[in-house]
């Protein structure tokens, strides 16, 4: 493991960069450091933002002693072990194909598989939430089986509905709200990763794991009703 780099982001932030690629161990280091920084809460700390490969730390330029902060980070990163033990694993119900996942057949065709095989492959993987960003609650999921990795659509859609289960390249995701997307839609879940009126507002956190459970379309209405009533619908399960 190379020594992480501390990159200045103006007078009010810095980024600790562990590497430049997408890798579970790098991400585990980011999450481990995130935990330490938040626990130590150095004077003037405002917030931390874990991403794939780096931790951005925002602080008050007047309250924070920069040298003290860098000292803390240097010490904390010396013997850092990646945090790969997950706190939570979520089971997310998905209705695949048809009007729920309009690209399922196309994706199957691209890879010479049947739609059922794509569903089987997509729903047997364990996905890791590397980071949340782009939109509130948008999960960047790693762990997609290469057999169904599919390059992005030639023509992005201006709007896909909240709850869309999608894949793009080797990434997978769940749309937290209606959004533009160039990824392929495999299915739909009533689960809302982000609901401003619900407690908790955000269901998932970076470092959590997600598994998808295929469910029959006949269950859709009941599940959606529960989600509307503020229930998570996603179930927390033991890893």
């Amino acid at each position: 493991m190379q020594t992480p780099k501390i990159l200045p982001c103006g007078d009010s932030a810095l980024t600790v960069e562990f590497g430049s690629v997408i890798d579970p161990d790098l991400n585990g280091m980011v999450l481990a450091l995130d935990e330490i920084v938040r626990a130590r809460a150095p004077a003037g700390l405002i917030e931390t933002v874990p991403t794939y490969r780096s931790l951005t730390i925002q602080f008050d330029p007047v309250e924070t002693d920069y040298d003290v902060l860098v000292g803390l980070l240097t010490e904390a990163t010396k013997d850092l072990a990646p945090r790969n033990s997950v706190g939570r694993r979520w089971r997310v119900p998905v209705v695949y194909g048809g009007e729920y996942g309009s690209d399922l057949e196309e994706v199957a065709g691209i890879h010479g598989l049947t739609p059922n095989q794509v569903i089987e492959i997509h729903s047997s993987a364990v996905y890791r939430i590397y980071m949340i960003g782009f939109l509130p609650g948008f999960t960047y999921l790693g762990g997609l089986d290469r057999r169904i990795a599919t390059s992005r659509r030639l023509h992005p859609r201006a709007k896909i509905p909240a709850g869309t289960i999608m894949i793009g390249g080797e990434q997978a995701g769940i749309a937290p709200m209606d959004m533009p997307s160039g990824w392929h839609n495999l299915g739909l879940t009533p689960v809302r990763p982000y609901a401003p009126e619900r407690d908790p507002v955000f269901l998932f956190a970076a470092g959590d794991e997600i598994v998808f459970e295929p469910v029959d379309a006949s269950r859709w209405d009941a599940m959606e009703k529960a989600a509307r009533a503020g229930e998570p619908v996603a179930e927390e399960i033991r890893p």
């Binding site: 103006g10 007078d11 932030a13 917030e47 933002v49 991403t51 951005t56 509130p136």
Partner: protein
Amino acid sequence: MIDLTVKSCGPMTALQDRGRLGYQRFGVSPSGAMDPRALALANALVGNPPETAAIEFVNLGGTFACEGGPLRLALAGAGAPLKIDGTPVPPLTSALLQEGQVLEVGHPRSGTFAYLAVAGGYAVEPQLGSLSFHLRSRLGGLKGAPLQAENRLPCRPEAQAGAPMQLSVDIPEDTGPIRVMLGPQDDYFTPESIRLFLESEFTISSQADRMGFQLTGPKLDHAKGFNIVSDGIVAGHIQVPGSGQPIVLMRDRQTAGGYPKIATVISADLPRLAQLRPGAGVRFRAVEREEAVAAARQLRDWIASLPSKLEPMHFSLTTEHLLSRNLIGGTVDALSSAAHD
């Protein structure tokens, strides 16, 4: 109960405070006032803490009335004029809006963002700890929306108390280049690009909003490609996509992004940049951390000093009197968008 009622306003008129801190890890932009200095001025005039939520005007003004008044309020920023029933309210003073009167906020004349504060603040429920409106998250403002005609903003009872006040304060001058600290990815650029970035004049393009300001100028070449694995984004980051034309990321920025960032605007100079209008020229100067922190402290001290500069309004106060004290000129200069260099 006192209500400020909206009769008309521009499409992005919305509540803004310090911003929504602590949720960037969940993909929520902090948002917050684009010019915290002007927000602090408006708040100081009505006796509020500097980061209390106020109505932010973006390019356009609006008209308001009140029910259950009088309502004590103040406007600051971008040289936007304020009138009550057609009578101008002098800059850097607070005013009383009586029931039945019409409050008219004119278009910002020398910048983009102006703030209307009421004594005690607006009695609106915060979302995730802030009243700041953020379009993409549908958070803050009035139930996730900007203001529009017919909206009623409930105000606290404190809004009625007190007489009009004035601020006798020196407004720091907005001159000189916008100061930046290089990094976090300045090593992704050729030395020639860094030189061009620091020595050229850029222009604020028409694509400038609360999310980011697209600049046009000499093409900045990357030394090792323009795709990086997405990392965290903070206000003031200057990212350079494949076009070689920099974008300064502002309060409503996305939380993470995949373009290299050549430099970061220092916190004290970001409000100044925010008030530059499309078409204005801008230059950058690289500074060390020491100077950036000193500037942040200076701005902090200036904001903290505002309440001590508040005094009862002299009713003989005239525009001529204010001009003689250079208050109007000072305000316009300080909170203006003019590029001075």
